[in-house]
Symmetry: C2
Subunit: 181 residues, 2 copies
């Protein structure tokens, strides 16, 4: 029998700009009652984008919850109803000033499925063409170009903390070695 929890009651807590929070009363499979705290989020995308010199585009930006800059691959939040692939292309161009000739889906990632509905969609992009970076007035980041294998090594050496960046780089590396990218 699959495990199952049934919603008894749902109580909204907070309706923010990016996240919503609710607490649900649930019934467990043994009949007991429990509470579940749940974050809603529109989801996101991230892109491993590789240029003709096999360098990957990285962005360095301040991440407020950690009070410091992190190195990540280009990424962004989905607009509600937006196609994830279109969002990936938009964010890549806005953040780095490049469009990609080829685009491949590397799958979904649930970053924190115990309490957060967010899904991040991972992409691999190649055949880059320069256009123009289009940052929002209040968006600040630096774009880095780094040999792809050096970025993979940084992940293995624990020098990149961001989860989606670590996963997308290692997944792209494994798929490339298997001849599937």
């Amino acid at each position: 029998m699959p495990h199952l929890e049934q919603t008894v009651k749902s109580t909204p807590i907070y309706d923010g700009k990016i996240i919503r929070v609710r607490t649900d009363d649930v019934q467990l499979e043994n009949g007991n009652a429990a509470k579940r705290e749940v974050i809603s989020h529109p989801g996101g995308v991230c892109v491993v984008a590789v240029n003709s010199r096999d360098e990957v585009l990285l962005v360095r930006q301040f991440r407020y919850p950690f009070g410091k800059e992190l190195i990540e691959i280009p990424a962004g939040k989905l607009e509600y109803g937006e196609d994830p692939s279109a969002c990936g292309r938009r964010e890549l161009e806005e953040e780095t000033g490049y469009t990609a000739g080829t685009y491949r889906y590397l799958g979904p990632m649930y970053p924190t499925p115990a309490y957060d509905e967010e899904v991040i969609h991972l992409y691999y992009a190649a055949q880059l063409q320069p256009t123009r970076q289009k940052l929002d007035e209040d968006e600040f980041l630096d774009v880095l170009q780094m040999p792809f294998q050096q970025a993979v090594q940084m992940v293995l050496d624990q020098q990149i903390a961001d989860g989606k960046t670590q996963l997308a780089l290692l997944k792209a590396d494994a798929l490339r070695r298997a001849g599937k990218l």
Copy 2:
């Protein structure tokens, strides 16, 4: 110059069992004001545990935010002040009924650094010894044993959604291939 956002005011929103939520007013580097929604979480651990037949231990459990069962590596939430390595050993034994003779740190993962302070610590464990599974009364999960390479292939085939599980399996695989595990 590094990018920086400075906290002007912090407003508590919700103080729950697992998460806390606050909204902060910040000043951006261009002097503009902005709001940041921030989740606090005690952090977690997860463990790639491999037995003498090179099978990895997986758990299948219901994840309420997605309304379905997910396949993950054993994992758990840190108690405040708990050593992550001790937490990994505890969760591995409680969820699967195994202790490990060797334990290696694979690094931290920030699952959603844009709005969540959570850090997940990744571990690799081997030389497993059976003890006894110790699930809480309200904890329901099945333990699976699967050849390590089959689990890695499931990640590449987009059949495992959980982020920490995908990352820890690919990281362990890459480090094993490099002779570092």
